[in-house]
């Protein structure tokens, strides 16, 4: 009997890839990025920049050229790579602590310069690798090891909505937020990543893709229950959708 693939593991992912917790949607994000790279036949033209935090584990996933930046500095590293090698596909892959806390300055300025790179932002509302500390994106009322059992906005302010913040800038060309909790959401996210990469490869400019993700380990729940938290708590606060896209795309 001759067989053909209905779904095949993307070739851009290493067979050795491992590291994330069971059910961690970082892995899903990696998988769909890899699928897009395969579909665009871009693996050999890609340079990836990974951060510090759980997202650094992705460095072990991709079979592309890559480097790891200091905590929060991935956009500064990536924009220089892109300017030196403008025909390559350059993306950063950053978590919320990296992108919205220590790296906020680089995040905003790189977006404001309209650097022709793609920033992929994994928002799981907590510091993962260090064990569940409060992130800039931790929800009001959410527990963390440094923000107490319930984030209190009177003391520590409100969670950053990064897409909305970047949407205040003139230069960015594509700004979108997706979620990784369900089949339709994952499919939309993949389309969004492909759109961002295509804009970049057509010389379009800066693209920002936020992916609402989970952290069942530090949320102290199961993978399946973490999906419920995403749907009931995160997505209502972080509305999904394309905040900005090039006119010809509309």
């Amino acid at each position: 009997m001759e067989l053909e693939y209905v779904y095949k593991r993307p070739s851009a992912i290493s067979s050795e890839a491992d590291g994330y917790c069971p059910g961690c949607l970082h892995s899903t994000a990696n998988r769909i990025i890899a699928e897009v790279l395969d579909e665009m036949d871009a693996v050999g033209r890609t340079i990836a920049v990974f951060p510090v935090g759980c997202a650094v584990l992705s460095a072990g996933y991709f079979l592309t050229d890559m480097t790891i930046a200091a905590h929060g500095r991935a956009p500064a590293v990536a924009c220089a790579i892109k300017r030196c090698r403008p025909d390559r596909l350059v993306f950063t892959y950053q978590g919320d602590g990296d992108l919205a806390a220590i790296g906020m300055c680089e995040t905003i300025h790189t977006a404001n310069r309209g650097e022709n790179i793609t920033v992929i932002f994994i928002n799981n509302s907590i510091f993962g690798m260090t064990g569940g500390q409060m992130a800039p994106t931790t929800l009001i009322g959410q527990a963390s090891t440094t923000g107490g059992p319930s984030r209190n906005p009177d003391e520590v302010g409100y969670p950053f909505k990064m897409c909305e913040l970047i949407n205040q800038l003139e230069a960015p060309k594509y700004i979108a937020r997706f979620a990784l909790d369900s089949v339709p959401h994952i499919r939309e996210a993949k389309k969004g990543i492909k759109r961002a990469f295509s804009i970049q490869m057509n010389g379009g400019g800066y693209s920002f893709v936020e992916l609402i993700s989970n952290c069942s380990t530090n949320w102290k729940t199961t993978p399946l229950k973490s999906l419920k938290f995403m749907r009931e708590k995160m997505i209502p606060y972080y509305p999904l959708g394309e905040f900005r896209k090039p006119e010809e795309e509309e």
């Binding site: 693996v43 050999g44 033209r45 890609t46 340079i47 920049v49 460095a59 991709f62 079979l63 592309t64 050229d65 890559m66 480097t67 790891i68 930046a69 200091a70 500095r73 500064a76 590293v77 990536a78 924009c79 220089a80 790579i81 300017r83 030196c84 090698r85 390559r88 300055c105 680089e106 300025h109």
Partner: protein, 357 residues
Amino acid sequence: MDFEFLEGCEAIAEAAVRAGCRFFAGYPITPQTEVPEYMSRRMPEVGGIFLQGESEIAAINMVYGAGASGVYAMTSSSSIGIALKTEGISYLAAARIPAVILNFQRGGPGIGNITASQSDYWQCVKGPGSGGHRCMVFSPSTIQECVDIMGMAFEKAFRDRNPVFVLLDGSIGNIKEPVKLPDMKPVPDKDAFDWCLSGCEGRAPRQLLPILPEDPSKFAEHATEMYARWQKEDVLVAEDLPDDAEVIVTAYGTAGRIAGACVKRLRKEGLKIGMIRPLTVSPFPIASFRKLDAGSTRLIIDVEMAKPAQMVEDVRLAVNGRIRVEALEIPGGIIPTDEDVYEGITGIIKGVNENGA
């Protein structure tokens, strides 16, 4: 080529361009702001890239990205700005990405002042970032020496895949003097480097990772071997050592220039005096001090624009107790006159003669 009358910052920047530098990222800070200003004009003319970082931290990380791409990349800053860059410099060393970094030292600590200083020798030589790595550090005294060194700085950075410092100060950056610039060199082909990031089409993927390998001793062994090789092959030093010298003055950079004038004056006055002026302080010219004859040389005077003096520790290590070492310490942020240094040196000699060893 003819001499041109150039300001230090601009001459150094132009020398970098002529050495093949095609990427510069910087952030304004006195006394080196003329370097990014010059590069912002010059880079577009030569097809290079200039980026003003949103901070010193962003600028060093831009250099990290450019170096990773195989481009001769440089950043420039001063003392407190370098302190911010040390995170990135540590990452450069760990990921083995080359870069050239200019440090125009100013008085410190804190905001300090914007006057020339040598109080960041330790910063560049001993602690250019976390993790115990080292950088090669050039320590020129004149603008001519600066421009002559720039080509070498990039070559060594790329040879070793390690960041290189050029240790300067606010004086050398802002004085003007006649200088003969080097010829324009061809820009190295960035694809010729077999380690840089370019996309893995037709080859295995490359990773530049600032993470210790599974066997952490691998990086340490590589680094230790590299530092030992520098000591054998890369020391630059200007020696003026008469056979019968009783006193040796040692100093680098601007202090070396001022002290050098004093040595000449004292020799004219009949003193048996010599000088060791390091042009690299990392690797430190240990051999120059080791070969001194303790029978004839009885005193080494280290002159620094830093109080407490910093390089003097390396001098003492090199001498290893064989010869008395004293330091003439001028606090950072004060540029001494020839007369100040002359009086300081003669005062130390007088004190030693009166009180004995």
